[in-house]
């Protein structure tokens, strides 16, 4: 990597770092190096302020309150739906707020009314969130993966049958960081009339996403991996699909009129319009408001600018780790343009599990990374990996922080 590219990374990150209060922390006398954004991102001041502002100024329920605070809270909450829609090029009535990606996929699994003979095709590298809902309701059909956990996409078409109800793919693997060939997958599936779910948990804050251009039928995402609070995410569904979804949870907030009034035989109730009919109960108001602030913050930077930083960061991260003896980086050959800034690797450190390595990086060097199986037991089993370490930098990380990770790993591997 050239000095110019390094400078570009550091200038971009340096500009944004002051917006993250947490990054000024010191761990065991060392400045914090946060490289675990694939688990959850730190929160910028704009998000913290939005949440605190709700608590301090307008704590009230939404879509119910007639007082001024209720209206203010409702406005802030509803604005978040527009932000989410705007981020992915969807209409706001195609966005259902849920607790996160996991609930979004479970909602979809419920809506598809799957039976045990129905098949759902997805890569064997998928996160449990995009595996177990299909396992629980249908017959999972995994796409084979190679030794590094990269799906063998060329086999996809052969797995599609008349019983295939859905193709469900992670946009970006939470293990390899590789970007799925979404356009090819959609073309293949749609040619057989099969809808496609895109799990955007790892891509939402890294890549510009346009659901119209990608032509995916469904998209699931979480706020907390995109600089927002935990406890909220959304399911995008094309309008023609969403209008046919059966009701999910029922109760307050999703009903326009309960006509079980006269005490005689129960009549029925009238659900609210889409998407509100799928959002029963009081939602995660402050988290959703914070999510709106997070999206606005990201869009203020520009998703394309974020992506350009991401590509440079990916190149630097993978190349630096790959040069270390005793370290194997998964999918190291994937070019930076086809991955995000995420590297999962195995450190040959005698007597240490990969979890031990991750702990040591924190305790000895102040570097926070993930260690273990990253909710992908099958990938690790098929790749014959007894755990891995994952470093996942983001917009605020500098090259010197990557250097610290590399020096830490070098030390442990030696």
């Amino acid at each position: 990597m050239t000095d110019r590219e390094r400078s570009a990374i550091d200038a971009f990150a340096g500009h944004l770092r002051p917006e993250f209060p947490m990054l000024s922390r010191v761990l065991e006398g060392q400045p914090l190096v946060f490289l675990d954004s694939a688990s959850t991102t730190p929160k910028p001041r704009a998000v913290i302020d939005a949440v605190v502002d709700y608590y301090e100024r307008c704590t009230a329920n939404v879509h119910r309150g007639v007082h001024a605070l209720g209206q203010e809270a409702t406005q802030l909450y509803d604005a978040a739906r527009l932000e989410a829609a705007g981020l992915i090029g969807a209409r706001p009535d195609e966005i259902v707020f849920v607790r996160g990606t996991t609930e979004a996929i479970n909602l979809l699994a419920h809506a598809l009314s799957l039976g045990s003979a129905d098949e759902v095709v997805f890569p064997a590298s998928e996160h449990h969130a995009n595996w177990l809902p299909w396992r629980a309701r249908a017959r999972p059909v995994p796409v084979a993966i190679d030794a590094d956990g990269v799906p063998q996409w060329e086999t996809l078409e052969s797995l599609l049958t008349p019983r295939t109800r859905l193709v469900a793919i992670g946009h970006v693997s939470n293990v390899t960081g590789c970007i799925a060939p979404v356009a090819d997958v959609v073309r293949t599936a749609h040619a057989r009339g099969i809808p496609v779910l895109l799990d955007a948990a790892q891509s939402l804050s890294h890549l510009p996403i346009d659901v119209r251009r990608l032509d995916v039928d469904f998209l699931a995402a979480s706020a907390h991996k995109a600089f927002g609070p935990s406890g909220v995410g959304f399911l995008y569904a094309k309008r023609e699909h969403l209008k046919d979804f059966p009701l999910y949870q029922v109760g307050g907030g999703m009903v326009a009129m309960n006509e079980d009034i006269v005490g005689a035989a129960p009549s029925h109730f009238v659900p609210r319009e889409v998407p509100f009919r799928f959002e029963a109960g009081t939602p995660a108001i402050e988290a959703t408001i914070g999510f709106g602030a997070a999206i606005k913050w990201m869009r203020g930077i520009g998703l394309q600018a974020i992506r350009e930083h991401d590509v440079r960061l990916a190149r630097y991260l993978v190349s630096r780790l790959s040069e270390l003896p005793g370290v194997r980086v998964l999918a190291a050959q994937a070019p930076a343009e086809q991955r995000i800034a995420l590297a999962t690797f195995v450190v040959d450190a005698p007597g240490m599990t990969q979890e031990n390595v991750a702990r040591a990086l924190c305790d000895m060097f102040g570097v926070c990374v993930s260690g273990g199986f990253h909710c992908t037991h099958v990938l690790h089993a098929r790749a014959r990996l007894d755990g891995t370490v994952r470093a996942s930098p983001h917009v605020f990380n500098t090259t010197s922080e990557i250097d610290r990770l590399v020096e830490g790993v070098r030390e442990l591997a030696s």
Binding site: H63, D93, P275
Partner: protein, 457 residues
Amino acid sequence: MSALPTSAADDWQPLSPTHPLPDPEHEARVARAIARAQRDIPFYRARGDAPVAVEAPLARTLSGFPLLRKSDVRSTLPKQWVPAGRDARAELASGALVLVETSGSTGERLRILWDADWWMRQERRAMRTHPGVAAAMDGEKGAYREAILTSPACGVGTCHIGNLPYEERVDGELLFLNQRPDPLFWSAEDQERMLDELQRHGVVGLESDPLYLAVLADFAKARGRLIDVRGFVQLTYAFATQAYQRAIRAAFGGPVLQLYGASEIGVLFMEGDDGRLHHCPFTTHVELLRACVSTPGASDLALVVATSLDRVAMPLVRFVVGDLVQVDRAAPRRWTSVPALRSVEGRVDDAVLRPDGGLVTAGAIDRAIGAIDGLRLWQVNQRTPDSVEIDVVAAGAAAPVVDEVRGRVAPLFEGLASTTRAATAIPIEPSGKFRVSKRHFSIDLDRFFEHAEGLVR
């Protein structure tokens, strides 16, 4: 049958139900209305203003009264606004008085009192100032039937009306079309129903919020249908952008007219056959406080202040309506001595403040960008005095529209850090209305408008 007060003694006489006449007594009527309010209404009595001199020039009479803000009214309703000696509780129970929630489109919502039938009476009178509308109301297009398309009465989010059948949404000749809080979430079935009901009801006049109708018109066009209204469309309730009007005209070939008023004060201006907005007689007097700062993109800008003439309960004297207008002083004054308007420019709370002290109205922004091909919706937010954000919703590819908007607003927002971005919708207000422009901080209006002492918004 309309009625109007004819003397200081408050005798109410029938007014011709046909075409209204110019009011040569307009200014004398204003003075009498103020005197009556001072005499009868506890709020004015308690304020202790000097008694009005009925024979004095109107301008001098009015200048003796402070401007009336919503906040002055909010905390004193209803008892301070019912004529002394009348029982507000009993009259509310009997329906002689009606308590109305105003939309609060700027967040300044207000409960108000209407005399029974007052709204309909004065609105019809105002509508008839347009000869085409008067003819339609008199049966030129068949029996007069009207539909209303705006937010349901419940506003946003607290609506629990379910799906009311057509019959339960008809009140005499009036049909209330909408029963959902946000048109951006209307289902295809709901929009088909509304289009069907326009036909079924035999609608001659449709009164609509501009964005609501634009959404329905877009849907109708996509389905190869039309807005089936035999006579005219009357846009009111909110600012009508060029984009909304384009969408409406693509699905409706008849006249699309503007009616400008406010729930608190009644209809102020109705579009005439000359395209100008003319002050409507017998309901209000309007003062137009001239802007004393630069107003890029707008000329002869004024703040609207109105005094009611025909209210028994809750007469308002020098009420700050909160809207900005472009005045056309050269146009003939058809019905009263109040000048005609070139345009309604949006709320003063919507106007963007420039670092040089100038005000940019929603109307000025719309004139700059409204003709851009593919522009569907837009919203400007000014959250700080030195920045402005513009959200742009395009009908097709967003990037070229965003770029063009960015370029066209640059001169208007000179000195402001401006961010323009693509969006897929703009948010609804708690009132059920949509604002194309929002300033999120207050300004001292007396710095910006002549004779606006003490006004902070």
